[in-house]
Amino acid sequence: MKFNKKITNLLIILISTLALSACSTAKKSGGAGSDVYSGTATVEYLASGVKDRVFFATNRSALTTASRDTLRKQASWMRKNKLSVVLEGHGDERGTREYNLALAEKRANAARDYLLTYGISGKRISVISYGKEKPVNSASTPLAWSQNRRSVTVKTK
């Protein structure tokens, strides 16, 4: 009982931290709103209605409300299917290479942590950072950059 309560507390703290950092992201990215990509042009689907990727603001690794929604759907899809995934973290071309490697690893882990809180075993999730090395859109435009700042969930088996 006591142990369960502890976990619940932890969860509350974790979720409120995520919510808080999401707020600060929105603030930092300026009055025009966040520069997180919200379209579906580059998105693929793991199953019907289950998007394979989430997007991030410049220099940030916090999950947005939409990202959390996508990851909850991925978690319930993973609960129903016996499979493992790799989370591939990415950055855009507007940052130094080494920092992008670290940041993309942080982004993929933000997605991993969220899947863990929804009961997916860590054994089923691995993480790899590609930094800015594998853009999905190679144009030098704010739209392309927002599509490249992503964590993609890829089925491994």
């Binding site: 507007r94 130094t96 080494e98 920092y99 490697l101 991993r112 950072s129 594998k134």
Partner: protein, 445 residues
């Protein structure tokens, strides 16, 4: 002799006094480079196979390599050989200084080569035209195929005599060669002489490779490879081609560099969304963790005495530059300007830290003192990063990317170098697109 020195001293003094005061210096001007005449080296007719055109032109080729090196510094103005009156062999014995001073030469390089029994003997002299004096005379013996290296060594000796600074011509640059579209870029490790010649590819392009860096004391290189899709720091011996993974880390290791004594590798290790800085001793294999912070700590670089480390961290919110003692204590933020700062690299002289700065969507390469004061931005562009120091601490080599269009086309990645005064910005021509350059130490110390 005195006159030349005098001119150079004034010249260097001028650069220092005028430009160290300017905080943001991205303008370029033309100073008066020293006029120097590099006479073709005389080929001794007693050489084996003297009638062979390849032997006959070797004297010209060597002088052209020397000339190109001088030209690239921006400090010298090699004079047109058409105006030379004296024949190479006579000039080498005793120049008629009036002739050389007539074409405004202030320094003169002469030389002679002899090829006998598969050995190349090169002799050269540097003359002070105004003072009518010999400044250096040196001779080397080597194998004929080594003539380019000798040309670089001669260039270094002359540069050192005229500027009072260590040369950097007998060096190599390792970099990442890039081909193919950006969404499927093929990257290979490549190495070339400092002047862009003798390019060799060290990996086949089967796996992604990034950020190669030279060991300052030998021919080892450390870099990041995605071999078997596991991003890890590797060691490569460029003479034997033997590669090995560095340490046994349960996750991504990246951003490697050697310690100044070449015995340790310092790098980042990322785990569960947190990157910290570690060192590994290459002999004892002992691993030490230097930073303990929940934010990103990466791009570490040692001071030349090995006592300090500069690195990149976002612990204050966004990317900034920090320094600490080599045991991880005494962490201090040193960058406070407007914008983000990344890729700090400690100068081999110890006095400056070079960095990449991002401000208002532009990328700058700059230098600051090791306490963060005296920041100077040397060059502004759409995208450029990852400066690496020439071994004498006078130049930086870095890579620059151009904007791609909406269709993703028009993208290029090239190597550039710039003098720390902000002058003499120029492209280093490479066979393919290129990034992540690292400059070697002098090969002949």
């Amino acid at each position: 002799m005195k006159k030349i020195l005098y001119i150079l001293v004034i010249f260097l003094f001028k650069i220092n006094t005028v430009y160290s005061l300017i905080e943001v210096d991205i303008t370029r001007g033309n100073l008066d480079p020293l006029p120097i005449a590099v006479s073709p080296l005389h080929v001794d007719p007693q050489s084996d196979n003297y009638q062979d055109a390849k032997i006959k032109e070797l004297g010209d080729l060597i002088s052209l390599v020397v000339e190109k090196n001088f030209k690239s510094t921006g400090l010298f103005n090699p004079l047109n050989k058409d105006a030379f009156v004296q024949k190479p062999d006579i000039a080498h014995l005793k120049p008629r200084f009036e002739d050389w001073s007539l074409i405004t030469a202030q320094a003169l390089v002469t030389g002679k080569i002899l090829i006998k029994d598969e050995k190349l003997k090169i002799e050269f002299r540097l003359w002070d035209v105004a003072a009518n004096k010999e400044m250096i005379a040196l001779a080397f013996t080597t194998t004929p195929s080594n003539w380019r290296r000798v040309a670089h060594i001669i260039s270094d000796k002359i540069y050192e005599r005229l500027t009072g600074e260590t040369g950097y011509f007998d060096t190599r640059i390792i970099y990442v060669s890039e081909t193919g579209p950006r969404t499927q870029r093929v990257k290979k490790l490549a190495i070339m002489d400092q002047d862009g010649k003798n390019t060799k590819y060290l990996t086949l392009g089967n796996e992604l490779v990034l950020t190669p860096r030279f060991n300052p004391t030998n021919q080892l290189v450390t870099y990041l490879s995605y071999f078997r899709n596991l991003p890890r720091v590797y060691l490569l011996d460029i003479e034997t081609g033997i590669q090995e993974v560095v340490g046994n880390f349960p996750g991504m290791t990246f951003a490697p560099r050697f310690s100044p004594d070449g015995k340790k590798i310092i790098m980042s290790f990322a785990k569960n969304g947190n990157s910290d800085i570690y060192t590994m001793n290459l002999e004892s294999r002992l691993v030490e963790k230097l930073t303990e912070d929940s934010s990103i700590d990466t791009s570490p670089s040692y001071s030349p005495d090995g006592k300090y480390i500069c690195f990149n961290s976002d612990r204050s919110g966004l990317q900034q530059i920090y320094t600490m003692k080599s045991d991880g204590t005494g962490v201090k933020r040193i960058s406070f300007g407007d914008g983000l700062y990344g890729t700090p690299v400690w100068s081999p002289r110890g006095d400056l830290i070079a960095f990449t700065k991002v401000r208002n969507g532009k990328f700058y390469i700059g230098v600051m003192r090791t306490d963060g004061s005296g920041e100077r931005l040397l060059t502004e562009n759409f995208y450029q990063e990852a400066p690496s120091w020439s071994p004498n601490g006078r130049l930086l080599v870095f890579y620059r990317e151009t904007k791609s269009g909406k269709d993703g086309k028009g993208f290029t990645a090239k190597l550039w170098s710039i003098d720390i005064t902000g002058y003499n910005e120029r492209e280093l021509k490479t066979e393919t697109d290129a990034s992540d350059p690292s400059w070697s130490s002098l090969l002949s110390k």
